[in-house]
């Protein structure tokens, strides 16, 4: 990490050079107009200073309208170009690539907790491989935070009660600053960390090095511990809708609307089940608010997501006796 004096941040992601290009264009435009006004003021104040003998006969009006129109039209065109350019970058920043590595982030006063799907978790550190898109799905346990990596030129607020996502693809190995960019109380300045961008092989080795349990397994344990299977997996008269092959599928609700069973929906259904009741079922699910941390909710959702790898021909899954394992990664393969 560059700890010394710098005037400009490094470019370490695919977005960085794009943002910097727009920034330099803006510097050019702003510099040009600032200099133009400054120079005009200085020149006119000197040339037409009190006491200087000059031709001050004013001939008027028709030209005034042309001038006004020009100095409205030219700035208008410029700002529209800038708008389009900035919007283009923003659009791409919001369009998460489908092959991104999915990490889960929980922000809380005053630390970042990051969970890799294979099992390793970290605090205030983020290890990622070079050259792969990485998506962070984030939530706060308390107040609004903001996950900011200046060298990647991206940030996104981390909200309580709702998932927010950002993605980036690192282009340079190294260690970069991670900051919280939304004031969150006493320890706001302390929510500082580092992002380690590694060669893919180093990253694979790092991933394999942890002792932690994969979140999908932890999720399955929670599923059993909290007796979710008592309603959600029954052969006859299921009390709750099936969770097999549910993830990211459309769901019809009791009021007739159709929603997608994404992470936000699953989280809400766990914490506030009465909010969206599936058609054909009673609203009898108890709430798990205050019983589960955000990390545990992430783990449960990972488990539910894993239920979508079941082949389509099976019926309702039998009450679970065997854990459902995702296919283990080959050496060197990154899931």
């Amino acid at each position: 990490m560059n700890e010394g004096f710098q005037l400009f941040p490094e470019q370490a992601s695919t977005f960085a050079s794009r943002v910097d290009a727009l920034y330099f264009f803006l510097l050019l435009v702003a510099g040009f107009f600032t200099m133009l006004i400054l120079a005009s003021i200085v020149f006119l104040s000197l040339y037409y200073r009190r006491g200087a003998i000059r031709n001050r006969q004013r001939t008027h009006s028709q030209k005034a309208w042309i001038l006004e129109f020009t100095w409205i039209a030219i700035p208008l065109v410029l700002v529209m170009v800038i708008f389009a350019w900035g919007a283009d970058i923003y659009f791409d920043e919001r369009a998460i690539p489908p092959n991104a590595i999915e990490l889960r982030v929980v922000g809380k006063q005053w630390m970042w907790k990051i969970q890799h799907p294979q099992g390793r978790s970290e605090i205030n550190e983020l290890h990622i491989p070079l050259g792969r898109p990485v998506r962070l799905q984030m939530i706060s346990e308390d107040v609004i935070h903001s996950f900011y990596v200046p060298e990647f030129r991206v940030k996104m607020d981390v909200l309580p009660g709702r998932y927010s996502s950002m993605w980036f693809e690192a282009t340079k190995t190294g260690v970069y600053h991670l900051f919280c960019a939304e004031y969150c109380g006493t320890g706001h300045a302390a929510m500082e960390g580092s992002v380690h961008v590694m060669q893919p092989s180093d990253y694979a080795a790092w991933l394999a090095g942890g002792e932690q349990q994969p979140p999908v397994t932890a999720g399955q344990e929670l599923f059993t511990r909290f007796r979710c299977n008592s309603c959600h997996f029954q052969d006859t008269q299921p009390r709750g809708p099936s969770l097999a092959n549910l993830y990211e599928q459309p769901v019809r609700l009791s009021d007739g609307t159709v929603v997608t069973a994404d992470d936000q929906y699953l989280r809400e259904s766990i914490l506030n089940p009465a909010a969206k009741v599936v058609a054909g079922f009673q609203s009898i699910m108890p709430t798990y608010q205050n019983q589960l941390s955000e990390e545990q909710i992430f783990q449960l959702i990972q488990y539910i997501k894993s239920l979508s790898t079941m082949p389509a021909t099976t019926k309702e899954p039998a009450p679970l006796t065997q854990p459902v394992q995702p296919k283990p990664a080959e050496p060197g393969e990154i899931k």
Binding site: Y90, H188, A189
Partner: protein, 535 residues
């Protein structure tokens, strides 16, 4: 000249203390406001001195984090609501509006006095919240931190600001009615000084936007006090609702802070260039355009807050549009110098300084309106630099320019010219040294509202703090010499600047009822001739 020989004016007509506290004279109320906002300015400034001292070193070694967080909150709250928002409208606007339109007073003089008392009440409640332990939410009060998690005097401070909002609303109402109904015969809308147009546009914002702030603060107090879920998701609320409500007011609020300052510049530049203003109707329309479009851009504070992508696009587009009328004004002011006869007295130095610094600050607004760039610099020192360029380099310089320009009218005395120019220069230099490095810091990634930072940011922070010390000296000088001038300043006479405008056709200081008979206006504004003074 003995006291009994002095002509009667609004200052010496009655020396009793209670004649000031019960005055309904708009000029005295303007002076009361001037003293009030000056006191608040130095309170907010003192907080800035402390936190800029802390920021000279990367570690938090001067004050605790808890203290630092209270200091920047104090600075923002006091400067925004108790200095910037009232400053030009309540000081210069109150003093000058009736004079400029040929009226004896505002439409509702007693309401005007009430506005001042409301500001005092709100200010005292806010100061109480500070003295009794402070608030650490930032001036933006984001939820759920402010509504649920903060352990500080949020409700008291929210109530203080809530109260002060009514001061603005009543002043806005007063100005609108005055402008519509009390113009002297012949003073048509397009003969009004542009300062009046600026105050009018500002007053529209006062009246329409401030109630939204009032309700938003009330909602925080309700959630905090009664535990009702409005903004906290754990109680079923939505934290983003707060941001929409808050910024719906606070974005127009920044135009409240800058429009009157632009109006001051529109008065000063023609006078010291001895030239009719270029593009009168364009400048007047631009004020109204800024006020209107300003209500449609609030989401540019929320590009990374969880707002939808499409909302982001709309707000970015509108934010680009709002820049255009400001650019129009800058070009028109500059064009006013062309074929003029320019002299650089203190008010003109402030006005020209405004134009330069506002241009730079306003252009950095375009950086922020550009979505891709804002994602990177949002919540960094780039934002801090941007708004200080507009608020301090713009609004405060405009305020000081106006104070110096109309000082002779308000007090009957001239300020010492060389001290005025020296201070303007010191302020200009100190300001740029303080805030320009912050643009660099912001792009480097230094977040806002931190008392500690990584070592690489230190050099720029030291530059900024050094600039702040110079800026502080620059502000103390006018305080000293303006007070000095009250007793020792050269007597000014009715029109020391040979300026155009009805306010200059009264004695300095003006009599209590302004005009012995209602003036009749039969010429345009800014009837300046460049070669009228012997050349």
């Amino acid at each position: 000249m003995s006291v009994s020989d002095e002509p009667r004016n609004y200052l010496n007509v009655d020396y009793r203390f209670r004649s000031w506290l019960l005055t309904t004279d708009h000029k005295r109320i303007g002076i009361l406001y001037m003293i009030t906002v000056t006191l608040f300015f130095f309170v907010g400034g003192a907080a800035a001195v402390l936190f800029r001292l802390e920021l000279m070193t990367p570690r938090g070694d001067l004050v605790l984090a808890e203290t630092y967080n209270r200091l920047f909150t104090l600075h923002g709250v006091i400067m925004v609501w108790f200095f910037l928002i009232p400053s030009i409208p309540a000081v210069l606007g109150n003093f000058l509006l009736p004079l400029m339109i040929g009226a004896k007073d505002l439409a509702f003089p007693k309401l005007n006095l009430l506005s001042w008392y409301i500001l005092i009440a709100g200010g005292l409640v806010t100061l109480w919240s500070i003295v009794a332990g402070g608030v650490d939410t930032g001036w933006t009060f984001y939820t759920p931190y402010s509504s649920t998690y903060a352990n500080t005097n949020v409700i008291v401070m929210a109530v203080g600001i809530f109260i002060s909002g009514f001061s603005s609303i009543l002043t806005g109402l007063n100005f609108i009615v005055t402008t519509h109904t009390l113009r002297a015969p012949g003073m048509t809308w397009f003969r009004l000084p542009l300062f009046v147009w600026a105050l009018y546009a500002t007053s529209i914002i006062f009246v329409l936007a401030t109630p939204v702030l009032a309700i938003t603060l009330l909602l925080i107090a309700i959630e905090r006090g009664l535990g009702i879920g409005i903004f906290d998701p754990k109680l079923g609320g939505d934290p983003l609702l707060f941001q929409h409500l808050f910024w719906f007011y606070s974005h127009p609020a920044v135009y409240i802070m800058v429009l009157p300052s632009m109006g001051v510049v529109s008065e000063i530049v023609p006078c010291f260039a001895r030239n009719r203003i270029f593009g009168y109707k364009f400048i007047a329309s631009a004020s109204l355009a800024i006020a209107s479009i300003g209500f449609l851009v609030w989401g540019h504070h929320m590009f990374v807050s969880g707002q939808s992508l499409y909302a982001g696009m709309v707000f970015s587009f509108m934010s680009m549009l709002v820049a255009i009328p400001s650019a129009v004004k800058v070009f028109n002011w500059t064009a006013t110098l062309y074929k003029g006869s320019v002299s650089l007295e203190t008010p003109m130095l402030y006005a020209l300084g405004f134009i330069g610094l506002f241009t730079l600050g306003g252009l950095t607004g375009i950086f922020l309106a550009a979505l891709g760039v804002d994602v990177h610099v949002h919540d960094t020192y780039f934002i801090v630099a941007h708004f200080h360029y507009i608020m301090v380099g713009g609004a405060v310089m405009g305020y000081l320019g106006g104070i110096h320009f109309w000082w002779p009218k308000m007090t009957g005395r001239m300020y010492p010219e060389w001290w005025g120019r020296l201070s303007a220069g010191i302020i200009f230099l100190g300001f740029n040294l303080t805030f320009f490095p912050q643009f660099v810091l912001g792009y480097l990634g230094m977040p806002r509202r931190v008392h500690e930072y990584v070592d690489g940011f230190q050099v720029l922070n030291v530059m900024s703090s050094a600039g702040a010390s110079i800026l502080g000296v620059g502000y103390l000088l006018p305080l000293a010499y303006l007070i000095w001038s009250l007793r020792y300043g050269r007597l000014a006479g009715p029109n020391p600047w040979q300026a155009s405008g009805l306010e200059w056709e009264t004695p300095s200081p003006p009599p209590k009822l302004n005009f012995p008979e209602t003036p009749i206006v039969n010429h345009e504004a800014y009837e300046y001739q460049p070669v009228s003074i012997s050349e």
